[in-house]
Amino acid sequence: MSTPAQEDAAGPEAPPPKPPLKRPMTRKRRRLYLVLAGMVLLGGSAALVLSALRDNLVFFYSPSEILDREIEPGRRLRLGGLVVEESVERNAGNGSVVFRITDLSNEVPVTFSGLLPDLFREGQGVVAEGELDRNGVFQASNVLAKHDENYMPPEVADALKKSGQWQGQGEAGP
């Protein structure tokens, strides 16, 4: 008889102090934790997906990557890099252009017939869309110019070149 009575006495006394302290916070706290947990899970899964698709998310391949992978002729892809200095030859007969794209370790020859963008220059970054032929020459159907993140007036570019501090790519344009 004494044990149930003791429990009864302890029952009402023990629980009350806990809920009133926690209850007012619980809902907002729970929603806060729910939102935070959701964001963490979402961010984690997005990071996993993006790293899994890493190869498909690149816009272009460098000459070294193309030579490493031994891509079969005829597969469409994009090749990006710098136009090798003094490699551009314009064929007046059929209006085609031949040049080489480098990533400073490997080079791939490219032929293209069509309009080149204004920023296409030797030493300048370009992205060529097309396919490799059997001779390892990249037949471009489109050439896009890629410019770097440096912006400056022409006088500053000239001064930098004169003083030997030039770090950007390419020659100063007209």
Binding site: L42, F59, L144, M152, P153
Partner: protein, 251 residues
């Protein structure tokens, strides 16, 4: 934050801030456009067409900044249920969508002469397009339900989901090789842009921010008043029903 969540206090503060932010917008926009179009030099590579940068870059910054504000307001609305947070998210979405559209459109116009194409599916351009779709989805979802509060709740969850896209937009140019060039301003070794071109860019960014504050206040004020009118109408209808109730019974 809690103190500003009171709509009436917000309306009082807004009345003080609004003329200043409006004046600041006009002044900064005038100064920025003057610097950008007349004072700043042409670029050594891109020539005069570099001037579109002074619209394109600040608009893209605003697209990211406003989405972050939208997501923060949505989180506050979901967790603490402040009445003003839902309205702030709702009021921000169209402004952010406009800036995203401006960034996409000017980028396209800039891309044609410089890159040689209007649009390419590289990681930066695609993620900004997705950002634009998140804005559109948020606007559509907010007004998709008969019950406004349900729409706001669904839209704030969408806003938080879309927050995943923000770091992707920002660092896409560093994580993957893209046609879009890497960041010029926010980078470890200082801006890669000459001071004479950085100044108009920052003034334009400040002008766009002041514009956002001004339009946000205007839109929020409209939303608060619309909600007040809504509740007034509701009480009027209830009053009329109470008045007409006994009258109807007499007839």
């Amino acid at each position: 934050m809690h103190r500003f969540a009171n709509p009436n206090r917000f309306l009082r503060i807004a009345a003080v801030v609004l003329p200043w932010s409006a004046a600041l917008t006009v002044a900064l926009l005038g100064l920025g456009l003057y610097l950008a179009l007349l004072v700043s030099p042409a670029d050594y590579q891109q020539g005069e067409s570099v001037r579109i940068m002074y619209i394109h870059v600040p608009a893209a910054w605003m697209a990211l900044f406003i989405y972050s504000c939208l997501a923060a307001a949505s989180a506050v609305a979901l967790i603490w249920k402040h009445p003003l947070a839902d309205l702030a998210a709702k009021a921000s979405a169209p402004i952010g969508a406009c800036f995203t559209f401006i960034a996409l459109a000017t980028g396209s116009i800039w891309g044609k002469p410089m890159w040689g194409d209007w649009w390419v599916w590289d990681a930066r351009l695609t993620s900004v397009l997705i950002l634009f779709f998140f804005y559109m989805g948020h606007m559509a979802l907010t007004s998709a339900f008969e019950d406004a509060s349900r729409g706001e709740r669904a839209a704030s969850i969408l806003a938080l989901v879309g927050m995943v896209n923000i770091p992707v937009v920002k660092w896409s140019v560093d994580w993957w090789n893209t046609l879009h060039q890497p960041a010029s301003i926010v980078r470890m070794d200082g801006p890669a842009i000459h001071a004479s071109m950085l100044a108009p860019l920052l003034v334009m960014a400040a002008a766009f921010t002041a514009y956002y504050v001004t339009v946000l206040i205007l839109r929020l004020r409209g939303e608060i008043l619309a909600r007040k009118i809504g509740s007034l109408r509701l009480t009027r209808i209830q009053d009329r029903q109470e008045e007409s109730g006994p009258h109807m019974r007499e007839v």
